[in-house]
Amino acid sequence: MDKPKIELKLPVIPEMELIATHTAEVIGKHMGLSDDQAAEIGMALIEACINAFEHSLSTNNVFIHFIIDDESLIIKVIDQGIGFDKSKVEIPKIENKLAGERKRGWGLQLIKELVDSVEFESTQEGTTVTMIKKKNL
């Protein structure tokens, strides 16, 4: 039997990422996740969505798939943007950010810290971020 799946299609409009977090909250409750786990998923989703929006054209959409598994929630954030080279993304450090011009660039690090696993597949046609959050059994 196919796993339950929820799909969202978000236009590239500021704050649409909040729709994704609200959806994650409902799914988290359905799955019996703790409030902290749900909040961590929501924060990771916000970061994945704002990265996707930044890489996309205003006419693109961002697609989010929530796949409910027995022991985990799998979330895919799919954009149609220009892609990025993960090897060129530096691990941010607060000391460098305070001293440097560019204060931003925390999204991928936050995602890595907030979910149990994350994978990035990026080409010139778009990027898919796959995040997995395990249930506390």
Binding site: P14, E15, E40, G42, I50, I94, K97, W106, G107, L110
Partner: protein
């Protein structure tokens, strides 16, 4: 679009900024504008009461890093109180808690800053 509001008061020479709403780039810029204005008036201690800010993003928090940098130049201090657990965790992951202070509540922040 969600709204973000700030209310400002001064207690014991500390500027207390109470936030309400999603701290993204727009929210961060509102906080920065208040801090810049108050710093021009000679204030250098700021406490953000974020009890009504349950959601943040890294762009909004990056603007707080700009504020910390400016406060370092005037021997100032920035603190936060009433943080939601996920906001507290985000601040710790980003490391800003090393250069600013997290307090349980407003009273503790005012007494310590």
């Amino acid at each position: 679009m969600s709204s973000f509001n700030v209310e400002t008061k001064e207690v014991n020479n500390i500027v207390v900024i109470t936030t309400d709403g999603y701290l993204n780039n727009f929210g961060g810029e509102q906080i920065a504008a208040v801090c810049t204005q108050k710093m021009s008036e000679g204030k250098n201690k700021f406490l953000l009461n974020m009890g009504n800010t349950k959601v943040v993003n890294s762009i909004g928090v990056s603007i707080l890093i700009e504020i910390i940098e400016k406060l370092q130049q005037v021997d100032g201090k920035l603190g936060y109180c009433n943080l939601a657990p996920i906001v507290d965790k985000t601040f710790k992951i980003m490391g800003i808690s090393k250069y600013s202070s997290i307090f349980e509540n407003e009273e503790a922040g005012i007494n310590t800053l």
